[in-house]
């Protein structure tokens, strides 16, 4: 028998719940397995150590308290609590579904508009992007020597010079 198969049997042999046949199997295995013999001794020691775990006796008024609580009326359930459990579940599920639908159908006005996608913002962004070119536009367009430069024709096509 393999050692893994002995694990549960070792404990049963210690706690006295093992059958005669199981005890014999354990004894046969331990006779030829040193590791399981050592493990058995350790489990025995732990089992014995648990005897030191403290407990308490019920207090003198324990029975009196139980009898008093037996006489207490059952706590009244609310209107929802009086419904059958299955129906309560369905009502809760229906309420959650209704809430989910209401959230998904809310008017979009209540949501913040995305900043980067508005047309005004896109225009402003283009202006900022071309700012150095625009600042020098008048100087460049009035520069007298500009038409004499090679390739000025193409520039003139795109940006007319007065």
């Amino acid at each position: 028998m393999k050692c893994e198969a002995m694990e549960a049997l070792l404990l049963a042999a210690i706690d006295g719940r093992a059958s005669t046949e199981e005890r014999e199997r354990v004894a046969g295995h331990l006779a030829r397995c040193e590791a399981c013999t050592r493990r058995m001794e350790q489990l025995k020691a732990t089992w014995s150590a648990l005897d030191a775990l403290p407990s308490i006796e019920p207090s003198a008024w324990f029975d009196t308290r139980v009898r008093a609580r037996m006489r207490e009326p059952l706590p009244k359930a609310g209107r929802l609590g009086r419904l059958p459990a299955g129906l309560r579940w369905y009502l809760t599920a229906a309420a959650l579904i209704a809430l989910a639908i209401w959230i998904s159908l809310r008017p979009p006005a209540s949501r913040p508009a995305p900043v980067a996608k508005s047309p005004q913002n896109q225009q402003d962004f283009a202006v900022i992007q071309n700012l150095p070119e625009l600042e020098n536009y008048d100087v460049i367009s009035n520069f007298e020597a500009l038409p004499a430069l090679p390739g000025a024709q193409s520039v003139g096509n795109s940006q007319p010079v007065e």
Binding site: A8, E41, V66, M70
Partner: protein, 200 residues
């Protein structure tokens, strides 16, 4: 002639409260002891034990003799203890794990009253370490170890109480004992001394 638990419970169902008194008398000590070891607080343990008896009484009309009475009672008690531990309602009242014991009893009854003080201190430290090791187990493992060690219940009954299969219970118990063995290894001269006793 002593009645069986089933007979007593059938008597409770028929409205005989003396039958319930018999069940109360028979099971209050093991139930309070089990719950105290689970939650480590006297007031909570007594409250939960009372609640378990109360639930049995309130469910008397629906009682049908099937599973053993102890399975039913300890299943209610275990669920109450696990819920109590989980919801943390008792945490404000809970003493530190190193705090003074609430039983008013010494941590460990030393057999020889004339033993040296040093030996008593060693025994006290050992008892504390064992308590801490058990307390540090996951709740379900702790319940399994306590039901297995201190209640006269078979594997099948403990498995039904914990709502698992018998093989799962055996595996759970073995893991718990391996954890305890590792944690108690520093106490080797006492705790891991081989052949000190076989419990049952």
């Amino acid at each position: 002639m002593a009645s069986t638990d089933v007979e007593l419970m059938l008597g409770v169902k028929a409205g005989d409260e003396t039958c319930f008194e018999h069940l109360l008398e028979k099971y209050r000590t093991p139930l309070v002891g089990f719950l105290y070891r689970m939650v480590r607080d006297r007031a909570t343990a007594e409250d939960l034990a009372q609640e378990a008896f109360l639930r049995v009484f309130r469910a008397r009309k629906n009682y049908a003799p099937g599973a053993k009475f102890t399975t039913w009672l300890f299943r209610i008690a275990t669920n109450l203890a696990l819920n109590s531990l989980r919801d943390g309602r008792r945490r404000q009242r809970e003493v530190s794990i190193d705090g003074p014991e609430q039983t008013g009893q010494p941590l460990l009854e030393v057999a020889d009253p004339g033993a040296a003080i040093e030996e008593k201190l060693v025994e006290r430290d050992r008892a504390k370490a064992i308590r801490q090791a058990v307390q540090a187990l996951p709740e379900k493992q702790r319940a399994a170890v306590l039901l297995h060690k201190y209640q006269d219940l078979g594997y099948a009954e403990i498995a039904r109480i914990l709502g698992c299969s018998e093989s799962a219970l055996k595996s759970l118990l073995f893991r718990a004992h391996e954890t305890l063995r590792t944690r108690l290894e520093p106490l080797a001269p006492h705790a891991a001394r081989p052949g000190k006793g076989e419990g049952r």
